[in-house]
Symmetry: C2
Subunit: 375 residues, 2 copies
């Protein structure tokens, strides 16, 4: 019997409830497919932070780097200012473990309601590969106080007006700025990951950028994309401006197979993707370092107001669990979880409150576990 050790960070709000269902289902898959998971629990999240002042320490991260996959519930708490926990735990882990791929399957399961007209599961089935450690997520930025920002403002405005004789008053202004950065190596590896994935799927990769306006950063992205594409002549490609792709996700989701995107645009379009696949309750994500430590999570937040009510949807977390064991090499078991999720929805008409019903969190987990064992 293969033995895995998997660290779990249940986190805040509904995190512990949904992760419990995920572990239950993975344990059932283990029983069925002959592996055993030893779950190692970590306390990180808002309570731990408020009690100890610690977000996540280097010692903990070092320790976690001994494992190939971490299972994460959800992080976030109204008592803590926006950004603190997200940056201090979630983004810290993504950067520390160099999880350069954020993998987001956008797949409408059979029996799930989508807000889009005339779309069925065969129309909505693609994967977004989001770059996960660069771009505008690097955290460089700042402010200039009154009077000191004259120069920067003038430089910026002059880019469109240098040749024109504009008289801009700037003395009294303050500014704030933010810098995005992408590296050649960081861009290539994620694009290569997307092409490798497309080779196993329908051989189509769509790239997302805004090269017509943010030309410096995304012109570079396009060049790297073209370089990698040249080494995969059998894969079809196209470029999509980020504004336009939000329209195609709604109108023509069937156009997509693999979508590769810079970090920030990826953040935006994967939430839209979650909605067309039925909502955040059904949307899993993987933060992947193929040679290192990966981390799997539902992409929704900690929904503090639903905590402890046994009513939230555990499917996103269970699905993330299936991605986790797939990453560990248990491909067949991973696939069996996704089909059990789907079978449960169809046969038992399972609908948690977000899907318009009143199924219980723990029943959904129980039923999926049972289906896996019985099949």
């Amino acid at each position: 019997m293969t033995q895995y050790k998997v660290p779990v960070i249940p986190g805040d709000g509904i995190g512990p409830e949904i992760v419990a269902e995920g572990m239950k289902v993975i344990d059932a898959a283990g029983e069925k497919f002959g592996f055993d998971v030893d779950w190692i629990e970590y306390p990180h999240g808002a309570d731990h932070y408020l009690e100890t002042g610690e977000l996540i320490s280097e010692d903990t991260l070092k320790e976690l780097s001994n494992y190939s996959a971490i299972y994460l519930g959800s992080i976030g708490d109204p008592r803590v200012a926006p950004g603190v926990l997200e940056k201090g735990i979630l983004l810290a882990a993504r950067f520390y473990f160099d999880q350069y791929v954020n993998l987001r399957p956008i797949k409408l399961l059979e029996g799930v309601w989508t807000p889009l007209k005339d779309k069925t599961p065969k129309d909505i089935d693609f994967t977004v590969v989001r770059e996960n450690t660069e771009d505008f997520y690097i955290g460089i930025g700042g402010r200039s106080k009154k009077g000191t920002s004259k120069e920067m403002l003038e430089v910026s405005r002059s880019l469109y007006s240098a040749k024109f004789d504009l008289d801009i008053e700037t003395d009294s202004e303050e500014i704030a700025y933010q810098i995005g950065m992408i590296s050649k190596e960081g861009t290539r590896r994620v694009i290569e990951y997307a092409f490798d994935l497309a080779e196993k799927r329908d051989k189509h990769v769509a790239s997302v950028d805004k090269a017509n306006v943010l030309s410096d950063i995304y012109g570079f992205w396009r060049e790297e994309f073209e370089d990698v594409a040249a080494t995969h002549p059998d894969v079809e490609t196209d470029f999509n401006y980020v504004d336009a792709i939000t329209m195609w996700f709604v109108k023509n989701p069937d156009w997509f197979d693999v979508v590769v995107t810079p970090n920030m645009f990826g953040d935006i379009i994967t939430d839209l993707g979650a909605m067309i696949q039925g909502g955040l309750g059904l949307a899993p994500g993987g933060n992947i370092n193929p040679e290192g430590t990966s981390m799997f999570e539902p992409i929704h937040g900690s929904a503090p107001k639903y905590k402890g009510q046994n009513k939230v949807n555990p499917i996103a977390t269970i699905w993330a669990g299936s991605m986790l064991i797939d990453q560990l090499g248990e491909t067949e078991a991973g696939a069996s979880i996704v089909s059990a999720i789907e079978q449960n929805i169809i046969e038992n008409n399972v609908k948690t409150y977000d899907m318009g019903g009143s199924s219980k969190t723990s029943d959904v987990g129980d039923d999926i576990a049972r289906i896996i064992l019985e099949e």
Copy 2:
């Protein structure tokens, strides 16, 4: 009889055809409501650029600044590299005339098909106020060649890992970067515009940002928003992360009245907005400087492959024309155009190819003009 002089830039591809319908309809509204427009045509666009090398000159911009509203068709041509015409004409004008508001009504007209289930015109009726001259549109960025980028890469990565003992190899990398900037004055004025608009509508302003990650630039935006909000105690407000708002546009568009957004996020969410109101063929935009020269345009592109076929949808352009004359002070005439557009769709079941029918561009313009004159 009031006399207006309005510069027109028909532009590329289908631009001339759709602008012709817009002028036809405005002329009819003038006949009905007692004003006359003297149209002054400008040749700028791809052909002019390819023939003369000129995008738009300072002399032309100076001349245009004598008028309060410009009517723009569409700019863009496959013979010219992405970004050149957009930056050289469209963005040049937005920046030169300091058109700090990009106004985008998201309104599902009666009789128009939306891709969203269960949504009717009463659910989709809000306005996006997009900041239009700052943020990541300022055009500052660059690249560092092999070996020279070590420092910047290290600074950036260290933000999440400074306290940790990470060993990052950077010697061989190249990077590209892009800087966004917002000023206090630039942020306040657009937020104030949004609140003034909400005062005349349903007294709700939703702000868009990503303050949990791009904290420097959008933390500043939030502070300015809160300051302005404090001066409008009767207006309800909320903050929306840009990723989340794409979900609400699809699931709960009825939540919104006025949405105010930084430039780049505004670009993205207004395309999504266009889709939920029936597509780009139905989506007008205004680039507004309330004290200076504004510019009105359909938000779609120049669709070169449909040029000269008399089949594209002129409604976005006609609607932009209604915003234009509204800006000139002809409020009643402006409103009459929007209701004639709607009446024409309902009564004559008008559908151009993008709406699933085969109505002709020029017939749509003729019919709307006739309705205005007959009402």
